[in-house]
Amino acid sequence: MDYTLLFIQTLNGVQLGLLLFLVASGLTLVFGILDFVNLAHGSIYMLGAFICASLTFMTGNFLLAVLIALPITGLVGYLIERFVARNLYDRDHLDHVLATFGLILVLDTSAHLIWGPEGIAVPLPAWLDGRVTLFGDVVVPTYRLLIIGTGLAIAAGLFWLVNYTRLGMLIRAGASNRTMVSALGVDIQTLFALVFALGAMMAGLAGMLISPITEASISMGGEIIITAFVVIIVGGIGSMKGAFVAAIVIGLIDTLGRSFLDDLFKLFMSSDAAETSAPAVSAMLIYIIMAVILALRPQGLFPPKVR
C-alpha cells in the first residue's frame, strides 16, 4: 500500500470532516434548541460560497471577502428565522421539511438568477496557493492546512461558547426547557434568532472555505446537506460532541472508501469484481454505516441527555 497516498487521503478526509462539522453544527444547534428541521441549511452553505466569490472579485482579497461575507450569511440566516422558521416552531416536523424544501427552491433559483447557471472559480492569494513539504515526500497544499486549522479553531471556539459562556449556558438551558428559560426573563425570541444566525454563519463559512477548491456552484448545497444529515443522525441529533465525532468519522470513511475500497476488495475477490463493485459500495458506504449504527442505536452515538 502507498503510505504517502494514505496520509494525504487521511488529511483530505479530516478536511472534509471539519467542513461537514461546520455545516452539521448549525443544523444540530438549531434542532437541539428550536426543535426545527432546516433543509435549507445547505443552501446557506451554497450562498456563502457565491457571496464570497463575488466579494473576492470585488475586493481582490479572498480573506477580506470571507470577513465581509460572514455577517451577510448571518443576516440571511436571521431573515430565514424571522420570516419562515419563527412561524413554524409550533408545527410538526413535516411542515418544517416542506417549508424549508420550498426555501431551497427559492434560494437556489435566486442564486441562479443572480450568478447564472455556471460555477464560479475563486482565486486564492499567492501565499495560500502554494504547497508545503511536511516530511519526507509528503507534500500538501498550504490552503488545505489552512482549512483544517480554521475548522479546528472554530470547533474549539464553539465548544468554548456552548460550555463556558453565559450565552452558551442560555443555549443549553433553552435546549433543555424552552418555557422555563423564557419564564426566567430571557428574551427567547432573540436567543433563537441568534442561534439561527450563528448556524448560518458556520454553514456559510464552510461554503466559503471550500469554494477555492471546488468552485461555487448551485448544486453544492444539495450535495452537502444530505451528508450533514447523516452526520447529525449518526452523532445523535442535538449533540455538539456527536456532530464533531461523526463528522470526522464520516469524512474519513467517505474519502478513504473512495480511494482504497477497490484495493481492499481485491484481497478477497477477483480484480474485475472489485473494480465494478467498489465504486457502488463506496458511494453508499456512509449510508450503510448510518443504517448499521441506527439499527444498533436508534438515537445515534451521543444522544443528548435531556430531550
Partner: protein
C-alpha cells in the same frame, strides 16, 4: 369517516373528469395534454401510496422516490438485457415479469429499510428514510452498465397480453384504472381493522401498544404495501417516459411527492390526486412562462405550509361535515 357527502361527490366528479378529458384531448388533436394527464395519473398513484403511510400512518417518508426508481429500473434492466444480452436470469420483455419484479423488489427494499427506519421516530425517521432513498440513488448512479448519470433508454415497452403500451390511450387507460384500484385499495385498508390500528398508532402509539397491538409490525406492513404500490407506479412511469435515470429517485423528487400529498390533503382519499394534479399543472404553466419557475413555485410551497392547513381537501371540509 373520511366520506362526508361533499367529499365523496367531489371525488367522483374529479375521477370522472380524469376519465373523460384526456381521451377528448387526444381526439381533438391535443396529444400533448394526454401525455400530461398520463404523467399526472402515474404520479398520483405514487402519491396515493405515500398517503397511506404519511397521511394515515403519520410516517413521514422522505425517500419515497426511491421506489419509483426501483420500479422503473425493474422495467429498464430486463429490457436492456433482452436487447443486448447478458444477465439471462432477468432478461425479458414480459410485462407481467416486469411488474412482478418492480413490486417484489420494492416490497423487499421497503421491508429491509422499513425494519430499520421504524425503530426510530420523529425527525430521525424523516432523515433516515431520506438517507436510504439517497443510498438507492447512488447505487443506480454508480452502475455504469445502466447508463449511470446519463440514464437508460428503454428500447421496447413491457409486453402485455391484449393491450399495447405503445398506444398512448391504452397506456393512459391502464394508468387510470391502476389509480382507481390504488385509491380503492388504500381506502379499504384504511377502513379495515388493520387501518384503524395504523391510524390509532399515529394518534397515540403508547395507547395502542398498551392495548396489546404490536404497532411496529402494523407499520412495517403498511410501509411494505406503500413501497410496493409506489414501485408499480415506477414501472408505469418507466414505460411512459421510456427513459430512466437515477435523477428520478433523488431526494428532491421525494420532497415533491410529499408536497403533492400535503398540498392535496393528507389522510384523504382524493387529496393525493388533487395534489399531484395541481402540482403537474402548476409546473407546466410556470415553466412555460419562465425558466426560473422554481422561484414562484418555492414561494407558493412555503405559503401553502404557512397558511393552508389541511391542503386543498381542507377547503371543502366544513361545508358537508
Amino acid at each position: 369517516m373520511s366520506g362526508s357527502k361533499t367529499t365523496t361527490r367531489i371525488t367522483i366528479v374529479v375521477m370522472v373528469i380524469l376519465a373523460i378529458l384526456p381521451p377528448v384531448f387526444l381526439w381533438t388533436g391535443n396529444a400533448f395534454y394526454l401525455d400530461l394527464a398520463t404523467r399526472l395519473v402515474i404520479l398520483a398513484i405514487a402519491a396515493v401510496s405515500l398517503n397511506l403511510i404519511l397521511g394515515y400512518g403519520g410516517l413521514v417518508s422522505f425517500g419515497h422516490a426511491a421506489y419509483i426508481g426501483i420500479g422503473a429500473f425493474a422495467v429498464g434492466i430486463p429490457v436492456y438485457h433482452e436487447t443486448y444480452g447478458g444477465f439471462d436470469a432477468v432478461a425479458s420483455y414480459g410485462g407481467a415479469f416486469h411488474i412482478l419484479l418492480a413490486v417484489g423488489i420494492s416490497a423487499l427494499f421497503a421491508l429491509v429499510t422499513g425494519a430499520i427506519c421504524l425503530r426510530t421516530k420523529g425527525v430521525y425517521f424523516i432523515m433516515i428514510t431520506m438517507a436510504f432513498g439517497q443510498m438507492a440513488y447512488y447505487f443506480f448512479l454508480s452502475i455504469e452498465e445502466y447508463g449511470g448519470d446519463d440514464g437508460l433508454v428503454i428500447d421496447i415497452r413491457s409486453e402485455l397480453p391484449r393491450v399495447s403500451l405503445d398506444d398512448p390511450l391504452q397506456l393512459y387507460a391502464i394508468a387510470y384504472v391502476s389509480l382507481v384500484i390504488a385509491m380503492i385499495l388504500v381506502r379499504t385498508i384504511v377502513n379495515s381493522r388493520f387501518g384503524m390500528v395504523l391510524q390509532g398508532a399515529k394518534g397515540n402509539n403508547e395507547r395502542l401498544v398498551t392495548l396489546g397491538f404490536n404497532t411496529y409490525l402494523y407499520r412495517l406492513a403498511a410501509y411494505v404495501i406503500s413501497g410496493a404500490m409506489c414501485g408499480f407506479a415506477g414501472a408505469l412511469l418507466g414505460n411512459f417516459t421510456t427513459f430512466i435515470s437515477p435523477e428520478m429517485m433523488g431526494w428532491g423528487r421525494s420532497g415533491e411527492l410529499m408536497f403533492m400529498v400535503i398540498l392535496g390533503g393528507a389522510g384523504t382519499t382524493l387529496g393525493p390526486v388533487l395534489g399531484s394534479a395541481t402540482f403537474i399543472l402548476l409546473e407546466e404553466v410556470l415553466s412555460s412562462i419562465t425558466v426560473f419557475w422554481h422561484l414562484p413555485f418555492g414561494l407558493m410551497l412555503i405559503g401553502v405550509v404557512l397558511f393552508v392547513r389541511g391542503g386543498l381537501m381542507g377547503l371543502f371540509k366544513g361545508k358537508g361535515d
